[in-house]
């Protein structure tokens, strides 16, 4: 059984504000997911090759050549607010 988790920590890390009702519901849902993961833990995979791609494809590398980027105007087009060529977002200090 996976350890209990703190739903407040999870919502904080995900930057999602939750009401008390939502917390209770998600706590329950996530607990079920963790139980599924626990079931997976029982499968013996120690001799299996680690592969993250469904087609066992190997990563292809690109030649180091620069190509034309987006036009500045196009890059900024969907931004609600811009200033001196920057995207403007609410103050965010860590």
């Amino acid at each position: 059984m996976s350890e209990n988790f703190n739903i407040d920590d999870i919502s904080n890390l995900a930057s999602i504000e939750l009401s008390e009702e939502e917390k209770a519901k998600l706590q329950k849902d996530l607990q079920i997911i963790l139980e599924h993961v626990d079931a997976l833990k029982n499968i013996d995979v120690k001799d299996e090759k680690i592969d993250i791609h469904p087609l066992s494809k190997v990563l292809e590398l690109r030649k180091d050549e620069s190509k034309e980027s987006l036009k500045h105007e196009d890059a900024m087009m969907n931004s609600p607010e811009t200033k001196d060529g920057h995207f403007v977002v609410p103050p965010s200090i860590e």
């Binding site: 930057s15 690109r62 180091d64 890059a75």
Partner: protein, 481 residues
């Protein structure tokens, strides 16, 4: 209670590639924001990353240069966290299969060699840059401006094991790593441009304890000077707390350059909080022997090799390390000059003392075209053989930095050659003794200040320059036998 500090370094090295890590946007150095951006490095939905082959080659070179074992089958992970300069909300990085593992770097501290063990060398991408707007304090900012030109620039993170014990050792390690990336030609290695950025993990524990103390991460050190000061400050802060019986909190602290203190930033997130998982957009990365061998071909004359060559020329370990970490032209000039002078110490002193000193004074960064090892070694030989005085040699060097002269011809034309003819000096000495009988009679011993006066008189009477040392020797011999 005796305490000991343990330090581990995490260094980000910005690679010097033409294009970014996962897209073909040009890596630019400009103040004009958001001019080299595309859907991939802006994190727009549906954009797919394709890794830069040169960046992978560079990280393999760095791993080999740091004596690491290469992971033949590696993979990329997503490191999830929310911050506006990271538009995808995850950074593509590496987790349990980094490119290089278990290496070591040889560093020089004073006259001793030390080894710093490297835990891992992994590939990742840089974030964008934030500028916080508003007046006064950073925490009262009214908005944040974002520039994504740097977003996706290839970064290599080099992590040491916690094996460093002092701030000086940490500085020596960064200097060594910096020189390694410069000599490999994979990064510009300019600290002031942020090509190398480092964090230090510091803990303090009882000297007898086998366990490490609580780790505190220090960020925002922009120079080697601030790295040294921040580590010293943090060791002192933690030691004081432990001696008072208080516990140290695991956290990230930031070095405040103005106040010269570390300030708590936030409680440190553990690696589980980053919810690492393998990036489904990027299949397994195979680094086979052929790729490794091709990368090896680009590796030559690393800092350790250069130090060895310098030591073999007769220099001490610390002098060798000084030239190893200096400009390449100085290293080349030293080696070709010492071949002619055959005197390592005097060549080293002249180049690093006089030449570098005068260049700094004249605000010259590069040696003028006409100054080569032949001219410099001729000049060193002139004063080493007492043909000219050291003062004259310095004047000749100043002249040489300004115009194309031949040191010997210049010395001859300007009457700077000292006579080494003992007979000539003896004649001058005899006549000075004769003319200054009153003084000679007052002389009590060879230490008498009046001896200096008589040496001065001989120098004055000489048409050709004479070596003051030889004059004094001959004068004393004549007077006191």
């Amino acid at each position: 209670m005796n305490l000991k500090a343990t330090i581990g370094m995490e260094t980000h090295v910005e690679l010097d590639t033409k294009s970014k890590m996962f897209c073909s946007c040009e890596v630019v150095e400009t103040d004009e924001p958001n001019i080299s951006v595309c859907p991939t490095c802006l994190g727009l939905p549906g954009a797919l990353p394709v890794p830069n082959k040169t960046a992978i080659q560079y990280i393999v070179m760095l791993s080999l240069g740091a004596n690491c074992k290469i992971t033949n089958e590696g993979m990329f992970h997503r490191k999830n966290y929310f911050y506006p300069d990271l538009p995808k909300n995850y950074q593509i990085s590496q987790f349990d299969f980094p490119v290089g593992v278990n290496g070591s770097l040889e560093i020089v501290l004073d006259e001793e060699l030390h080894s710093v063990e490297i835990e891992r060398v992994h590939m990742e991408e840089d974030t964008g840059k934030s500028v916080h707007m508003g007046s006064g304090r950073i925490d009262s900012a009214t908005s944040t401006l974002l520039d994504f030109n740097r977003s996706g620039v290839p970064l290599v993170e080099v992590v040491t094991k916690p094996v460093i014990s002092t701030s000086k050792m940490a500085v020596a390690y960064i200097e060594e790593l910096r020189q390694l990336v410069i000599d490999l030609g994979i990064s510009k290695g300019k600290l002031e441009k942020g090509n190398l950025r480092f964090d230090a993990n510091i803990s303090v524990a009882n000297e007898d304890s086998n366990e490490l103390g609580t780790k505190v991460e220090i960020k925002n050190m922009n120079s080697l000077k601030s790295l040294e000061k921040a580590i010293d400050y943090e060791i002192m802060r933690q030691s004081k707390q432990i001696k008072k019986g208080e516990s140290v909190i695991q956290e990230t602290r930031h070095w405040d350059e103005n106040k010269q203190v570390t300030i708590s930033m936030r409680t440190k997130e553990g690696s589980a909080d980053y919810r690492y998982f393998s990036d489904p957009d990027l299949p397994n990365m195979i680094i086979d022997e052929e790729f490794i061998n091709n990368s090896k071909k680009n590796i030559q004359n690393l800092p350790t090799d250069k130090r060895k060559t310098l030591k073999e020329s007769g220099l001490s370990l610390s002098d060798s390390n000084y030239l190893d970490k200096g400009d390449k032209w100085l290293y080349d000039l030293y080696l070709s000059t010492v071949e002619n002078t055959k005197d390592s110490k005097s060549t080293f002193n002249f180049l690093t003392g006089e030449l570098q000193g005068q260049m700094r004074k004249a605000e010259i960064d590069e040696l003028p075209d006409w100054v080569d090892s032949e001219k410099i070694s001729n000049l060193i030989n002139l004063f080493e053989t007492n043909e000219v005085s050291f003062t004259s040699a310095k004047d000749i060097l100043a002249k040489l930095l300004g115009e194309d002269i031949d040191p010997k011809t210049y010395a001859t034309d300007n009457n700077l050659i000292q006579s080494s003819d003992d007979e000539e000096i003896k004649t001058l000495v005899t006549s000075v003794i004769k003319e200054n009988q009153d003084i000679v009679e007052r002389l009590e011993d060879p230490e008498d200040k009046l001896v200096g006066f008589l040496v001065g008189q001989v120098m004055k009477s000489s048409v050709n320059k004479v070596n003051p040392g030889s004059v004094k020797d001959i004068l004393l011999k004549e007077l006191f036998g």
